[in-house]
Homo-oligomer: 155 residues x 2
DNA sequence: TGACAATAGTCGTTTAAACGATTACATTAT
DNA sequence: ATAATGTAATCGTTTAAACGACTATTGTCA
């Protein structure tokens, strides 16, 4: 009986190693994700909003088009427009139309947005460390290698 | 420049190995998750609904209380009631009140539900394999070990 | 040039996720 | 016995996710 089996109180063995890896990935990621979500809730941000703000900070001072933001996100979002609407309403981002290609809207992070991110940098970093530091550098590096290898065939 | 950095077109290095692992987990899991979601969409099931159906199949012939279902889920769901409502409406599950403790509702998977799951077993298993088989047994086992170790401090 | 296709972003609508409050029943302690 | 506490599940409401249709602008090519 594997550890994951007992965690989810499953009596039957997994169909395959591949399936066990997939389920283990979901469970591990969800556990970490929830804790980060809790942190973000303290400032009323969703993980996707936080992700976009960090992308925008990284693209300063030029800003990015919607589609470019979508490409950079960790998880796919089907409606960037309204996500940006909410950030703009809260004055965390600013939008403006591109001069040359008037189809494009350029979004930049605002001073407020930068401030909010700055406030989250330390606790976010500490949280990841608190959850994963016990693995040690060697195993962390190995995990990164394996995850990259796992993504190879996912399109 | 790491692989994940170029995938998300990030110019700055990660703050720490722990943070890189966390982001890599999200990206890897999301990629696999999406493909499974697409499969489930063909029969109009959400991943959470599918998860519950499999839990219920595993608990046959006794069925489970709501809280027990919640405990076994891969991801936390804040409203099992309505998730089960939908399964019941579609005749994939059946609910009945516990005789001894009348607070408890026991849910069981229906014949329809079992049939639907049976129909998904093969393609689901094939999908995981298609995404991960290239790692080989040794690396799959190593990945499982590392993921279990990663979950140790996540509560 | 002018029709047609491609691209960028937005919007309408349906559905479900999330949160808190609430009901119903069981258990415990006094 | 009964009040208080705990537990199981449900429900009301707000908000956002998801999907497809739609508008606006640019690019292509006969």
């Amino acid at each position: 009986m594997t550890r994951l089996q007992s965690e989810i109180k499953q009596s039957k063995p997994f169909r395959s190693l591949e399936e066990e890896v997939y389920l283990s990935l979901i469970r591990t990621t969800d556990a970490l994700f929830r804790r980060h979500e809790d942190l973000l809730k303290t400032v009323d941000l969703s993980p996707a909003q936080y992700n976009v703000l960090r992308i925008l900070r990284g693209s300063e001072p030029h800003g990015l088009a919607c589609k470019e933001i979508a490409d950079r996100m960790l998880t796919r979002d089907p409606d960037i427009t309204r996500l940006l609407d909410r950030l703009e309403q809260r004055k965390l981002a600013v939008r403006s139309r591109h001069r040359e290609d008037r189809r494009v809207i350029i979004t930049r992070i605002s001073a407020n947005g930068l401030e909010l991110l700055a406030q989250l940098d330390r606790p976010g970093s500490e949280l990841s460390k608190a959850c994963l530091r016990h693995l040690g550098k060697a195993r962390l590096r190995e995990l990164i290698r394996l995850l990259e290898a796992a993504r190879e065939k996912t399109g």
